[in-house]
C-alpha cells in the first residue's frame, strides 16, 4: 500500500495573528506554526494502515515556504518513509484549485493507492483540497473519515454525517480520503525516530516545476469581525471576578 499524506503547516491556536500592512494576510514573521491538527491524525492513520497491511510506503507531502519542512520532518520522525516539499515563494497560496493542481501534478506519476488529507485547514479553512486532488487524479473520494478498514483493492470508511450520524462507505482504490480529527491517537516521535528522520529523503520541488498559471480565487483582505451582541466584559483579579460571577448567577440569571 503506497500512501501519500497531505500535510499543511498552519498558525498554532495560541499564536498572535498580526495583520500585514497591506491587510491581505497575517505577518507570518510573527506567527508560530504547527502541523494542521487533523493532518496529524491523517499521518497516524497512514502509519497504522501500513503496519496493519504489513508493507508499503508513507510519503508526507506539503506545499509551502521553506518552513514547512519542519512538519514534513515531524511526519518522518513518527515513521513516514520520505517527504515531498513543493516549494512556494512568499505568501501562501489561497486558491484551492491552484494548490490541488500543483500537488496533483506531482503525485500523478507516483501512483499512490491512498491519499489521506485533513478535513479542513486551520488557516484558510477551504475544506476541499484532498477531495479536489482525488478528483483530479481520477480516484474515488470519501470525506470526514472516523475509521478506516482496508480490504482487497478497496477501503471501507466510516464517514461522519451531521448531528451524530455515521455511515460506512466502501470505496475502490485508489482513493483520496479526508480525515476527521479524533479517529485515532497520534503517536509522538521517539528519539530514535527523530534521529532517523534526519537521514530520510525530502524531495524539494521548485515553484517553476509545479505551480500553475491561472489563479481563480484569492484572499484580498483580512480583518477582525465586529460583534453585534451586548457583552459584559469581566476583567480583573480572580476574587473580584468570582464575586461578579456569583452576583450574575444569583441576581441576573437567578440560577442559584
Amino acid at each position: 500500500m503506497k500512501i501519500a499524506v497531505l500535510v499543511k503547516q498552519v498558525p498554532g491556536s495560541e499564536t498572535a495573528l498580526p495583520i500585514l500592512g497591506n491587510h491581505n494576510w497575517i505577518d507570518e514573521e510573527q506567527v508560530s506554526f504547527v502541523m494542521n491538527p487533523p493532518d496529524n491524525f491523517a499521518i497516524e492513520e497512514a502509519l497504522l494502515i501500513k503496519e496493519r497491511t504489513g508493507d508499503g510506503e508513507v510519503v508526507i507531502v506539503s506545499m509551502g515556504p521553506a518552513r514547512v519542512q519542519k512538519v514534513i520532518r515531524e511526519g518522518l520522525a513518527k515513521g513516514a518513509d520520505r517527504g515531498i516539499h513543493l516549494e512556494e515563494d512568499g505568501q501562501i497560496q489561497t486558491d484551492p484549485l491552484s494548490i490541488a493542481k500543483s500537488i496533483s501534478s506531482i503525485l500523478m506519476d507516483e501512483n499512490f493507492d491512498l491519499v489521506l488529507s485533513g478535513l479542513q485547514s486551520d488557516d484558510t479553512g477551504m475544506g476541499q483540497t484532498g477531495v479536489l486532488i482525488g478528483e483530479m487524479l481520477g480516484m474515488s473520494t470519501g470525506t470526514l473519515a472516523m475509521e478506516t478498514d482496508v480490504q482487497d483493492n478497496a477501503i471501507r470508511v466510516k464517514r461522519e454525517l451531521e448531528s451524530g450520524w455515521f455511515q460506512w462507505v466502501k470505496l475502490p482504490l485508489p482513493a483520496s480520503i479526508s480525515i476527521q480529527s479524533g479517529l485515532n491517537t497520534p503517536r509522538y516521535p521517539s528519539l530514535r525516530g527523530i534521529m532517523g528522520a534526519k537521514k530520510k529523503e525530502i524531495k524539494v520541488i521548485p515553484p517553476t516545476d509545479h505551480q500553475t498559471d491561472a489563479i481563480s480565487q484569492s484572499i484580498d483582505k483580512v480583518f477582525v469581525s465586529q460583534t453585534s451582541k451586548q457583552t459584559e466584559m469581566i476583567e480583573g483579579d480572580a476574587d473580584s471576578t468570582v464575586a461578579r460571577i456569583i452576583e450574575i448567577l444569583k441576581s441576573e440569571l437567578k440560577v442559584l
Binding site: 477551504m126 462507505v169 475502490p172 480529527s181 484580498d220 460583534t227 469581566i234 480572580a238 471576578t241
Partner: protein
Amino acid sequence: MDILVVLEDNRGSLHRMSKEAIAGAQKMGGSISALAIGVNADAMAGELSDVDITEVITINHDFVSSYNADGYSDVVSQVIKSESPKTIVAGHSYQTRDFMPRVSAKLDIPFIPDIISMDDGIVKQVLNAKLNALVTTSADQVILSFQSATFSEEAMVTGSCLTRSIEVNLDSSIVRSEAEEPFQEDAGDVDLESAELIVSIGRGIEKEENIQIAFDLAKALGAEVSASRPVVDSGWVEPFRQIGSSGQNVSPKLYFSLGISGAIQHVVGMKGSKNIIAINKDPDAPIFEIADYAVVGDVLEIVPKLIEALNN
C-alpha cells in the same frame, strides 16, 4: 439562469440550510433555479411551491435515487454545463463538503466555501474564526456555500415557482462507492438537550486531571457537563457529551463555557442558549462575540475559587 441553488434532501424533507441558501440567492438577486435530486425530488419541489424563484429542476435516476458523491457530482456538473448558471449556491453542509469540491475540480470552477456574509463582497472566516477574509474571484462562474444561519429561512420571499423535470444520462460505471445505511452511536445516559444548566469544557482546561474542576463546578450548580470536540477526541469525556455540528444541539438557560475558543462548529450547537458565560484567557476569543458575560481570565485559577464560593 443567474443562480442555481443545489438542494439537499434531509430524510425526505428539505434541509434547513437549503432554505437558507434560497433566501441567500434571493438576496443576491437575479433569476434563480433550484435543483432537487433523488427519490424525494418532487417532495422537495413541493416545499418550495410558494417561494419566489423561477423553478425547481427535478432529477430522479436510479444512480442518484439516494445521495452518493459519485452520482451527485456528475449530475450537478451536467446541470451546470447545460444550464450555465453564473453562480451555484448551497448550504455548507457535510454533504456539500463531500461532493461539491468534485464538481469544482471537474468543471474548473472555484468553490468558495463556508461564507458568512455577502453584504460587501464574499466574506468567510479564516484562522480558526479569529479573522474574517474578503475572498475574490476572477472566474466567470463560481460555487458558493453558506455557513449555517448566514441567511434566515424566514427571510425566504414567497411567490410562485414552476417545476421542471429533466432527464440525465448516467453511465453505470460512474458510481464506484457502496454506501451502507446511516446509523447513530450510543446516545449515553445524559440528557443534555433538556438540561437547564450546562458547564462545558474546552481545550483550555489543558489536562485530563483538570476535568474534575468542571464536574465540581457542575455539581455545585446542579448542571450537566458537556465539551468541545478536542476534549472528546482526547478521550477526556464521553462522545455523547460533545456539543456542535458533529455533536449535540443544546439551548439551556445557562451555558457556562470554560476554555472554549468559539469555533463555528462548536457555536452552532450552543448559540441558542439563553445566557452564555464564557471564561477564556484570550480577550479576542471568538466565543466572547456570542457571550453575554465574557470573563477574561484563567479557568484553572477562577473556577476553583468559584466552586469554593458556591459551596460556602
